[in-house]
Amino acid sequence: MEVRYTDIDYFVFSDAAALVATGKSPFERSTYRYSPLLAFLLIPNLILHQSWGKLLFSSADLLVGLFVDIILKLRSVPETLRLLSVAVWLFNPFTFTIGTRGNCEPIVCAMILWIIICIMNGKVIQAAFWYGLVVHFRIYPIIYALPFVLVLNNQHARPRECILKKGSPRSGVTDPSSRARVVKPSTTSWKQLFCPWDLLRSNITINSFLFGLISGSIFFFCTALFFKLYGWEFLNEGLLYHLTRTDPRHNFSIYFYHIYLHHQHKFSLVEKLISFLPQLMVQLALIFRFAADLPFCLFLQTVAFVAFNKVITAQYFVWFFCLLPLILPWSSMKLKWKGLICISLWMGSQLHWLLWGYILEFKGQNVFIQLWLASLLFLAANTVILLMVIHHHKFSRVFSPSLSAPDSTDTKKLD
């Protein structure tokens, strides 16, 4: 059986680029469900070379490695640890094949990391611009809106006055003197959960307001522009499809069999809300607890978002693989043996699912129940790993609040 290396999506992008080059709508290509921007980006596929897109995605992949390095430098991580973390992204066999196979996820990852860098450097307007663009490109980064806003508030300072908190990397590595500037994690943001008025009051600072305004404007501008060009097709295929997607075909999600068993009748509102509830609970809990340690919060949010989503495909894993190197220096989990256990658990449950998936799809046997149980196991593995990562992480804020901030009295620095 001939198994192609290039992802089927790459042909979809190329065909859409060909349509756009002749002035037609990229949505005439069936299963094209991305922003028209991607089709525009891939026009050189026709002019220069068919592999232009792959080169672009692979360059974005390398750029992600560079950004990881920049972020860790900004957080004063010692060199060896930093390089190891960058290697975790660059040499991850799953992620470096993604770009060369023609998948556009590295571009999204590069944009997300650039936004983090901009926020850390205090460039709020630039961060907002890229954020609006990335949400237009791929809907999922909308889950990062609240942590970005909270972080921009917790600093309570104008961009020029940003004070970057020195990270507290894993003990026992290179520099003992830079070790453990333990800061009491801000419980203010946690308490604010129960005082909504305080939350609202403290959240409306100039930075978060600007961020919300600019990113929202960019998003609506892009949506309006492409709606004007391509009409309802763009809205249905490029936007609404992702929000209402219920694919009954088998995938890693625990909901697939439930959706298949119900596909012949519509879902009630109650059912839709029930499946949304666990996702919402977890996202809110993670945001309000960990927002100050931005990369850690984003990582946990992404893992949880993917695990509780209605549809999970393998390319979604790249979304949190790019954030993993950003949290490794602060994890007290060693590779032997807890690290290896986590990796084996995650990969093992995935392989187990793939085995049953193979039997169903390529051997034609009815193993729906076994496959569904395998997906439950995958969720359990993801949950265990999340719990372990949370337990072993040294929480460290990205910004320390300035002295004029009301919650600065909570901050203690032990030298």
Binding site: T187, L261, L277, A285, F368, F395
Partner: protein, 310 residues
């Protein structure tokens, strides 16, 4: 001596009967050959010829554009609709017994949700009419009406055309690759193949291997859904190389459906509606439990750190 004579005469008798049987077999086989040709081309209806401009590449596409539906077996109706003129009427007459299809064999190869439908048949040409065929450029057309439960990937088929496995191919109807059967419609595949009649062979064997994929079937307690395939329609599409007319003739030679009753069916695994309550409840409970565990761990961790640092 008498015994020897008896032996000799019995052996002559034996050989004579053998020769006689041999001759009989020879005569019968010759007769059977042409008999088979006639039998296979035994018509359920007379020759049907549909004349369309050569710019119309696909018969099913033409029908779909005009009627918005898949072309069923009513070629006769289509022929009447298109109308015929003197030339096509004479063509119909001249095509009597020129060629026919025989020995249709079909089977599915592969396992699971992705299989290939293999159609084997023979194209027979009467030797006296080779001149007619030499004046025309002909293609074999196979029209495969797919049941709702399967679909053909147009992009995959286009890839096969690029690799010259087929001359041309079109998929008309519901080509959605993602929806389950319950939300899908019928589709039809039209495959054009090259003929090898130029090599002056009376009979050429043609094999069409069509890659197909199963859709997610409707729910069934049995656990498997049975998809049955109908017989295909075999036509010839010929263009005259002698005249200047830009018209192509689509010729249906009256294919008898009774020759082979190949009941091909494909078993596709499907969900069991009796599982619904159990699956849904356990799914939601698992999601809720996992979510609660994570939320609790987040709360505990913050409480612990509060206590540690106070």
């Amino acid at each position: 001596m008498l015994l020897n004579a008896a032996n000799f005469s019995s052996s002559i008798l034996f050989w004579r009967s053998k020769v006689f049987l041999f001759l009989l077999w020879g005569i019968v086989s010759l007769k059977v050959d042409s008999f088979v040709l006639q039998n296979d081309v035994k018509r359920s209806h007379p020759n049907i010829v549909i004349e369309l401009p050569c710019s119309q590449k696909y018969l099913t596409g033409y029908f779909y554009e005009k009627h918005g539906q898949i072309l069923e077996s009513d070629f006769h109706g289509l022929a009447q609709e298109v109308g015929s003129d003197e030339l096509s009427r004479s063509l119909v007459h001249s095509l009597k017994d020129v060629f026919g299809f025989s020995e249709l064999n079909r089977h599915l190869i592969g396992e699971g949700s992705h299989r290939s439908l293999v159609t084997n048949f023979k194209l027979n040409i009467k030797p006296n009419d080779m001149s007619w065929l030499n004046n025309h450029y002909c293609q074999v057309v196979v029209i495969e009406r797919l049941p709702i439960g399967v679909f053909a990937d147009p992009f995959e088929l286009q890839h096969l055309v690029e690799h010259q496995v087929f001359l041309d191919v079109a998929v008309i109807g519901d080509t959605n690759l993602e929806l389950p059967s319950a939300l899908s419609n019928k589709s039809v595949v039209e495959v054009h193949m090259n003929t090898t009649h130029n090599v002056l062979s009376r009979q050429s064997e043609i094999t069409v291997e069509l890659p197909l994929h199963a859709r997610y079937p409707p729910l069934d307690v049995a656990g498997y859904s049975k998809i049955e395939f109908n017989q295909p329609d075999l036509l010839m599409r010929c263009k005259s190389q002698v005249t200047q007319r830009d018209f192509c003739s689509w010729i249906l030679t009256g294919w008898s459906d009774d020759t082979h009753k190949n009941g091909i069916f494909w078993l596709v695994p499907c969900g069991n509606m009796e599982h619904t309550t159990l699956v849904s409840s356990i799914t939601f409970i698992s999601a809720l439990v996992s979510a609660l565990l994570i939320v609790l761990s987040v709360i505990c961790r913050s409480t612990n750190e509060d206590m540690k640092n106070s």
